[in-house]
Symmetry: C2
Subunit: 337 residues, 2 copies
């Protein structure tokens, strides 16, 4: 057991590389499962799924399952199928999200719904979602099944919650946190927790990994939502301003609105209800979130959750796995700088 204090923001240029190196061997095996289970006699399925799955994602979520297993010193392979299932759930969600949002760009590439249409994206999403459950069932761990099926339901509920929150200026920070806790952090939490389940470790270790994943997930989404108000499509692989144009109530907007004067509030009202969404309007939105320090404070909130993620690892033994998991948090919260 190690109780070494790690303060977020210590080192220079944090990277995901240590975590990727830590799990490289396992990830090759997980990738083999992913490719095998995308197969179908219907050519559209591997074609469409492959576009997204091969499309430069970091495999963050299955990587967390694998890293958590390393942290626990678990020597087996029962978590490989579960890690693949986690990636399938995530991919299915992305496919449906892009349909729901009408997105045309993800990770710098055209989205599947633009290339193959909404119907194909909906149905291939369903296919991947079903396959994720097949993989889970094959793991033969009812407890892991319970955790992941519950996470899936929570994600879907969070997505609906977010949909009903669109263009609602009265959305507060609390409900925003509920939404990202469900749509993003639930899967991060489950991805980490299931490693403790297959390794048959204590409830306390399960909950510590759950807390690590959940807080990392919240930090991750907060940074993502901040990035929409600082970057452009070229650097981040998604269209900056997408959230703005869709009227999504993310924390930068929630804070900027709460802190704004009358004219700023009038602007946000018009913008979030869809009446001001030109490039000039987006430039004005960026000016307002910067002036109110709303992006800075969104990132400060992200660091808060990042620190909690790191502290959740306090009880685990020091070593390469723990270092990599800490640096992954550093990386997640440093992305916007």
């Amino acid at each position: 057991m190690s109780a070494t204090l790690h303060r977020l923001g210590g080192g220079p240029a944090p990277s995901l590389d240590p975590m990727m190196a830590l799990v490289a061997h396992d990830m090759n095996l997980v990738n083999a499962v992913i490719l095998d289970r995308m197969k179908s006699e219907i050519p559209l399925i591997p074609e469409l799924a492959g576009h997204l799955i091969a499309g430069g994602g970091k495999r963050m979520r299955p990587m967390l399952t694998l890293a958590s297993a390393k942290l626990l010193g678990y020597p087996g392979t029962r978590h490989h199928r579960l890690a693949a299932a986690v990636e399938f759930i995530h991919t299915a969600t992305l496919l449906h999200d892009d349909v729901v949002d009408g997105s045309d760009l993800r990770r710098g590439r055209r989205t599947a719904n633009i290339i193959w249409g909404n119907p194909a994206s909906v149905l291939v999403g369903d296919f991947l979602f079903s396959k994720s459950f097949e993989l889970m069932v094959e793991s033969e761990s009812l407890k892991a099944l319970h955790i992941l099926s519950n996470a899936s339901a929570v994600i879907a509920e969070g997505e609906v919650n977010q949909l009903t929150a669109v263009r609602r200026l009265d959305l507060g920070e609390e409900r925003y946190l509920d939404i990202i806790g469900a749509k993003t952090a639930a899967l991060f939490a489950a991805a980490c927790r299931i490693a403790a389940v297959v390794a048959e470790r204590s409830e306390a270790e399960e909950l510590a990994l759950d807390a690590y994943g959940r807080n990392l997930g919240i930090a991750f989404q907060l940074v993502d939502d901040a990035i929409d108000y600082v970057s452009d499509a070229g650097t981040m692989g998604k269209d900056a301003g997408d959230d703005f144009r869709e009227g999504k109530m993310t924390l930068p907007v929630i804070l900027a609105y709460a802190r704004g004067d009358e004219s700023a509030r009038a602007f946000w009202k018009a913008a979030i209800t869809g009446h001001r969404n030109s490039d000039e309007d987006f430039a004005e939105a960026i000016r307002l979130v910067q002036a109110s320090r709303s992006v800075d404070d969104t990132l400060a909130r992200a660091r808060h959750y990042g620190q909690r993620a790191i502290d959740a690892l306090g009880g685990f033994a020091a070593g390469a796995a723990k270092d990599a998991m800490i640096e992954a948090v550093e990386f997640a919260v440093a992305r916007a700088y």
Copy 2:
């Protein structure tokens, strides 16, 4: 054991009433599970899901699980959650189907995608799908989980297969049967089979119930596809001609095209590729399927599968459950007359 021969089409005016009466008590308990699991703090979820679930469906698939359990004399309640899961899978599929097809009418009512929009229908479908897995996991039968998760993947694959088959005049009867076997019959088969799993009966009984459900499902879909060329919205609760206007290659069209002369084939080419879809064109389509006896023969195919469904029950003891399950087949194939 009873080997009494039952010939399809024997009695007058077959009805689902005996099956509904057989399972009425169990169905009340299943309905309670369904209503309980539709609950959410996000009001849109029960509202949208309830529109479809309360919308006059016959609950055919969970009814088959319950009737199969009765046939086996299973006294327990472990199948109730699984029956609710089956209905959730079906409802999720309907929600996504209506998005994919752009349908505006189902069971005589406006579809959810028309009332609440495509995004809400996609996401609430995902929610119900996730909830179905939660229910399955709670049943704690890995075997039932395996059967139902596999059925889900097969359904999704069948839906994608159907999507890629749209407007493809060269689709033959074999691939059409593949599609309906996957998108419709797989869930009928699984719904029946899981009763034998929870009742811990022999592999032979499992497979017999699977065969009953599968053949009934194929018959059911064949009749549905025939109805699109004989009925109108008022009587059937869906728009007659929907399949025609969407360019769906169903058996009536496949047969009419194969049997048609040059002018008929020219008509189908124009119609299926979307260049002739007026009411007059649909009237012409009906004339051509009637003249080629394509609807009659689609219904004859349905009777063939119906007879196979009935014969699959040959090994089970005579009684009210068996009689009700036989009459359900009679009812399914008699709907179009």
